[in-house]
């Protein structure tokens, strides 16, 4: 479908990668940990390694949760844009196929959040 308009209605997407000054957007959703209410929106360097993403960004971002220090994110179950995904820890995000506005979903099988209700 397409918008019904008075003229040829065409505009540039607001969030193209070139608008982010060399960075790209990445979203991370840690399932069963709704203490973080929504997927985290991150501005990351495309050539940063997956390991660095975990160590330097994800762990500090989730540190307030009691499960965070116990979580083995590198060996957790990952989805990339809803498809099963096995990250290469020492390859860059881009080489892992993680492009601008991709979403990673991570499930830590033994850690299901607080009170048994995914918080």
């Amino acid at each position: 479908m397409s918008v019904n308009a008075l003229y040829d209605y065409k505009f540039e997407p607001k969030d193209k990668v070139e608008n982010f000054n060399g960075m790209q957007l990445l979203y991370v959703y840690w399932t069963d940990h709704l203490m973080f209410c929504a997927p985290l929106a991150l501005s990351v360097q495309p050539d940063m390694t997956f390991r660095a993403l975990i160590e330097e960004i994800l762990k500090p971002a989730t540190a307030a949760h009691p499960d965070s220090s116990k979580a083995d994110f590198l060996n957790a179950e990952w989805l990339l844009n809803d498809e099963p995904f096995t990250p290469d820890a020492d390859a860059s995000l881009i080489d892992n196929g993680i492009d601008h506005k991709s979403m990673l979903t991570v499930t830590t099988p033994d850690l299901k959040g607080m009170a048994g209700v995914g918080y």
Partner: protein, 511 residues
Amino acid sequence: MAVQNKKLNLKDKYQYLTRDMSWEPTYQKKEDIFPHEDFEGIKITDWSQWEDPFRLTMDSYWKYQAEKEKKLYAIFDAFAQNNGHQNISDARYVNALKLFIGGISPLEHGAYQGYAKAGRQFSGAGARVACQMQSIDELRHSQTQQHAMSHYNKHFNGLHDAAHMHDRVWFLSVPKSFFDDARTAGPFEFLTAISFSFEYVLTNLVFVPFMSGAAYNGDMATVTFGFSAQSDEARHMTLGLEVIKFILEQHEDNVPIVQRWIDKWFWRGFRLLSLVSLMMDYMLPNKVMSWAEAWEVYYEQNGGALFKDLERYGIRPPKYQEVANDAKHHLSHQLWTTFYQYSYATNFHTWVPEKEEMDWMSEKYPDTFDKYYRPRYEFLAKEAAAGRRFYNNTLPQLCQVCQVPNLFTEMGAPTKLSHRQLVHEGERYHFCSEGCCDIFKHEPEKYVQAWLPVHQIYQGNCEGEDIETVVQKYYHINIGEDNFEYLGSPDHKRWMAIKGEKPADENQDAA
């Protein structure tokens, strides 16, 4: 025209002052004068069928409204002179006003512009007159709301720059984008969106509980505004129903177009009203009714009867209505914990509800509160007591359509986010739900341009990438005054001083 009687009766007067102000053009083409009337595909065969439910002329309108407002402003004055703010239930209540003045009052102003624009575009005089009246109503409401709340600005933080914040602050982009979407649509979609879906179907969920909430919490200024606006709102609602029936009766080809608009605007309205759910359940110290109860009365029962009535036109209830009905058990709790974790970037305070409030919620939400949400607050209270008041220091992913963080959960699976995504012309887009994803799919060109606050911050368009700069400089939220936790805030201390109690932190003086 030849006037038979010197004194006109009401009906004649109405006819002369409305319909006879219109004429058939002779030297210009009608479609050049009303260029927006056709492109949406709505077919109007006979404009004279438009019935005005209220036969109001401008001269009687001014007279009536002036009388109402004289009384209204007398009460505002009395409220201010008697320091009415000292008689509210608790200073936490004022946070609802902060949300209202930044989130709702600017929409009244948007509605004023929207009706002025839509009214210009109808070749039918009846529709033009109706839009004109409502346009002026909306401008008055925007102004009277600001006057009703301005007294609080002298005594509490966060109310000082609502219009500026409405254009910039992340969560205020939810109401802003809602209205921008409606105002940039054609005139018939605008009326379906605002007059019907919002004013007729959903507006009771804003006004009735919120105005009763003001009454229950001793806010006489806001209550009086509410009473004053009631007769206007009744007119707006009646117009909403007339509009939809008129369009549907004009041509059967209009039915599928209107149905899609109803689906879209029900869903957008429902998402917008999630802000009201947290006002009702969390920000009113004296509770009126729960969000779930309000939804049952004002949507499930009233809306149910309405859509039964519209069946004969071939209209069915809005798509995803079941999702909205199911969400009533969760909505306010999910929203409040969201604002709680991001209240470093809000112009109002958040807090963990008190024990009695949580017991009230257990009673009102027997199937969900104790199971899913009470444990959240027990944890958050424990953390705060240990000096680790929880803030989420990473920005959230926002929905491309409604612009709410993607915090909503699947129907029947309240621990799983109902996130959706798709790729459109090589770009990825993320949504809070199937409902918002559907809206995008119908009009992707409109939503690819969405000004998403989180992405704008990361692009460096908000005066800096660090959140402190964005909050203080770009949003005009005064750090340490307007934002963060309620307990120990300047508002809290001021309230304790008003009540003659010691501030929570004895090392600091009450403001």
